[in-house]
């Protein structure tokens, strides 16, 4: 990793890893490399903000949370362990949980109540440019989601994109909590298998 002293995406990196992966950028960031941070931000911020805003709706609040996420990345990059999962997953896990924490403790919770039913996952791509790797991931997820039953997709969307707890979902859908849990679990297992995720 020591060869990676530049954030230029040159082809001559001698690292065993692919040139300037998110993982490599985190490694550089952990040593205080602001250029690496800048590059990571440029390449992931639309994703982070997109996920956070999907949960929070309110743009200003979402930017606040996104800023918290990126400061957290800056602070804790040294703790990222690449053998435990991808950098993108690490970043998105952090983003989602911060967004959920915010939505459950703020006005954002009321805002999101007004858009129950908006559960499409079809993004509009025109507004952002992003890396090929993310776009490919997106296509995979979209295809996998299509394999779920409507009820599973609904429950998962409410939980993940709505930030609702299972008991809230039970209330929204007027079904028992146990049914919600089952739908979430069955749906996630199906998704996992469709996506080929191995723990």
């Amino acid at each position: 990793m020591l060869e990676l002293v530049t954030t230029d995406r040159g082809p001559d990196t001698e690292s065993a890893e692919a040139a300037v992966t998110f993982e490599s950028l985190l490694e550089l960031i952990s040593r205080g490399d602001q250029e690496a941070f800048s590059e990571l931000y440029d390449r992931t911020a639309p994703r982070v903000l997109g996920l956070v805003k999907r949960v929070l709706v309110d743009h200003a609040q979402s930017e606040e949370v996104a800023q918290e996420v990126f400061l957290e990345i800056w602070k804790t990059a040294s703790k990222f362990e690449s053998h435990r999962g991808s950098a993108m997953s690490w970043i998105l896990t952090m983003s989602h949980r911060r967004a959920v924490d915010r939505v459950r403790s703020s006005q954002a919770g009321h805002d999101r109540d007004e858009r129950i039913g908006l559960r499409d996952i079809e993004p509009e791509y025109d507004q952002v440019s992003e890396s090929v790797e993310i776009r490919i991931e997106h296509e995979r997820v979209k295809r996998a989601m299509a394999q779920l039953t409507e009820l599973q997709r609904e429950a998962i969307s409410l939980a993940y994109y709505g930030g609702y707890s299972h008991s809230e979902i039970a209330g929204i859908l007027s079904i028992p909590v146990g049914t919600v849990k089952t739908r979430l679990r069955d749906g996630m297992i199906r998704l996992r298998d469709e996506l080929g995720v191995h723990s």
Binding site: S38, G178, D186, R192
Partner: protein, 305 residues
């Protein structure tokens, strides 16, 4: 809340999906995590679903941030302390091989090891230790994210959880870890020492195979200057022999206390003395009472880097 409660509602096996989607309450998450600690099946399913959930994040519509967001962030970097690298090896690299771009942030980069003490405490309470402070900045859900990513090694978590459970049991600690009731291999002080290390922001660990069978996990915190070794499946030693831990550096090996290993389950030993970043931790078999210097070949060797 129209759900009807039944016993099924309390079965953690049904909760993996909800947990992975952050759709559980903090209380539920806590008890669920305890359940995962004691079930590999549950843990595997949970890990897979958590990984799957993060992929859902990629299906959200990307949103271009305002230019102000990046400007604000970049402006904050220089004054935002970073957690130190886990191992001294890495810290050395940071100090001596710092990228040229670090000229912009000289203080943060050039003396990571030396500046840990000053840098971290100033920032820890509000921002880097969400489990303990500042719910507005980092709530319980996000803390769990940290818990998963920063201390996930399964064996280690299970081991520490087991240790913590035993510690809660108080006097149960000793007899539970040895086949000789009344001859505790660990003290309560040792258990709380382990808990303290495990809770450190910069906790790091490494699992190593043990010569002669079994596994050992080294756990350390440079911030605390402490370390522990958790062992599983080590041979029970004959009378008159003990395991002895060592801090090893270029000057040799310094004794760091003796311990016994339980016949079953996880035993651990919090090392005596202070960990210097970069030290190698070793364990040898020594005569009862320990030796001032190793007399046998180490069965466990691990670098804290």
């Amino acid at each position: 809340m129209s759900g009807t409660r039944s016993d099924d509602d309390l079965d953690p096996r049904l909760l993996t999906g909800a947990y992975a989607l952050d759709a559980v309450s903090a209380t539920e998450a806590e008890s669920f995590e305890k359940a995962t600690d004691s079930s590999a099946t549950l843990r595997d399913e949970t890990d897979g679903l958590v990984e799957t959930a993060t992929l859902l994040g990629l299906a959200a519509t990307p949103v271009t941030p305002s230019t102000r967001l990046k400007a604000d962030l970049m402006a904050k970097l220089s004054s935002t302390p970073q957690l130190p690298l886990s191992g001294a090896g890495s810290a050395r690299h940071a100090a001596t091989d710092a990228p040229e771009s670090l000229d912009q942030a000289p203080d943060a980069a050039h003396s990571p090891a030396a500046s840990v003490a000053e840098v971290i405490p100033a920032e820890v309470p509000a921002t880097v230790s969400p489990a303990e402070a500042a719910p507005a900045l980092a709530g319980p859900v996000e803390s769990r994210a940290r818990a998963r990513w920063f201390s996930r090694p399964v064996g280690f978590v299970a081991g520490v959880a087991a240790a913590a459970a035993l510690f809660v049991g108080g006097g149960f600690v000793g007899s539970a870890l040895t086949d000789q009731p009344g001859a505790p291999v660990v003290t309560d002080a040792s258990a709380s020492g382990l808990a303290e290390i495990a809770a450190a922001d910069d906790v790091a660990r490494q699992t190593v195979a043990v010569d002669g069978g079994g596994t050992a996990t080294l756990v350390w915190s440079n911030e605390l200057g402490r370390s522990a070794v958790l062992v599983d499946g080590l041979p029970t030693l004959p009378d008159g022999k003990v395991y002895e831990a060592w801090y090893i550096d270029a000057d040799g090996a310094a004794p760091a206390g003796t311990f016994a290993a339980a016949a079953e389950g996880t035993s651990w030993h919090v090392l005596d003395g202070a960990l210097t970043p970069g030290d190698t931790i070793g364990v040898t078999v020594e005569p009862a009472g320990g030796s001032p210097a190793p007399t046998t070949t180490p069965i466990i060797v691990g670098e804290t880097a």
